[in-house]
């Protein structure tokens, strides 16, 4: 892979009234060198017919339900310090 060719974008959907997000999609693109050890320039590195790496993180967020304060076991609490 070619870390010099990288893109990251975040798309967020939200409720207009509450301004709380209900969806977040993060897309990470990493370029790859071809058999000649070269990578296409700019957006061409992630275009049709050009092999590249893609990771997507798709979050669906629910802010309607209240979450109670967590009661951690003592052993777990110690591991978080």
């Amino acid at each position: 892979m070619d870390r010099t060719r990288a893109r990251c974008s975040v798309e967020v959907g939200f409720d207009k009234k509450t301004k709380l997000p209900d969806s977040v999609v993060m897309t990470v693109l990493i370029g790859r060198r071809n058999e000649h050890g070269r990578t296409a320039k700019g957006d061409a590195a992630f275009g049709e017919g050009v092999e590249h790496i893609v990771f997507t993180y798709d979050y669906k967020i629910d802010t309607d339900s209240k979450v109670k304060v967590f009661s951690l076991p003592r052993e777990a609490r110690g591991l978080l310090k």
Binding site: C8, F14, H52, Y57, V69, A76
Partner: protein
């Protein structure tokens, strides 16, 4: 107009449409200080009574168009506040691999991690895995004992692939290069979906100089944000950071 003003300051009940004018003395003084006497007096004169100027929040406030950058910041802050006060739940699917398509469709999957979690403050609970974690550390219950989250492959993947949404958004806010509104995704199978062709356009009347009346489309002033979806482009370095986390998760040709 002068009678009305005089009546206000005398606190006369009968001369101001039977409304106790003393009650409105303070807001009138407030308006004079901030709007200037001329505008206040004109507002009173135009109103014909004191009541219409009581909506102090409306006076002097112009309709504000919010840009995508500012709206994104607002969304992040609201989520952080929500996390502190009430918490929230989320479901996350992290996946990826190799693609050779312009739409980035993956043909060889190497990462697939799906979890549901609850967040309250800086703590996340993943009930299905008996995990508690904060942005830096985590604990997982294995065989009746609590262990560091990263000590087992499943925990390591969770730690590196599933992020706190408000952290992710906060990083995006600090490392953004561009932000723009994007079209809302429309699901035509949604029961609330209304075909735009079925909805009549709002019309208004325009009076011409020759006395004629013309029906014209109502102008849609931009008083609210343009949409409910924002796309933010981040620094290349952020992409590399997340890629390195995926590599360190063991998903790419490693264990787990």
């Amino acid at each position: 107009m002068s009678r009305t003003i005089a009546a206000v300051f005398r606190g006369s009940l009968t001369q101001v449409s039977g409304i106790p004018a003393v009650r409105y003395l303070v807001p009138v003084l407030f308006l004079i200080l901030f709007m200037g006497g001329g505008e206040t007096l004109q507002a009173v004169a135009n109103a014909g009574s004191i009541a219409p100027i009581l909506s102090i929040t409306e006076i002097g406030s112009a309709d504000k168009v919010v840009g995508p950058e500012q709206m994104f910041r607002d969304v992040v802050k609201h989520l952080q506040e929500q996390s502190r006060t009430k918490g929230y739940q989320f479901a996350c699917l992290a996946k990826g691999g190799l693609s050779n398509k312009g739409d980035h469709e993956v043909w060889m999957h190497q990462v697939y991690e799906e979890h549901q979690a609850l967040v309250r403050g800086d703590l996340m609970q993943v009930p299905e895995m008996q995990v508690y974690r904060n942005p830096k550390k985590g604990a997982i219950r294995v065989g009746g004992k609590w262990r560091p989250l990263g000590s087992i492959p499943e925990g390591n993947r969770l730690q590196r692939l599933i992020h706190f949404p408000e952290e992710l958004l906060a990083k995006a806010m600090s490392r953004s290069r561009t932000a723009k509104w994007i079209e809302t995704k429309i699901d035509i199978n949604d029961p609330d979906f209304v075909d735009p062709m079925d909805e009549p356009e709002e019309m208004d009347k325009e009076d011409g100089s020759d006395g004629s009346t013309t029906i014209v489309p109502k102008s849609k002033e931009l008083k609210e944000p343009q949409g409910d979806r924002i796309l933010v482009e981040l620094d290349e370095a952020v992409a590399v950071t997340y890629f390195n986390q995926v590599q360190n998760s063991g998903c790419l040709g490693g264990s787990g």
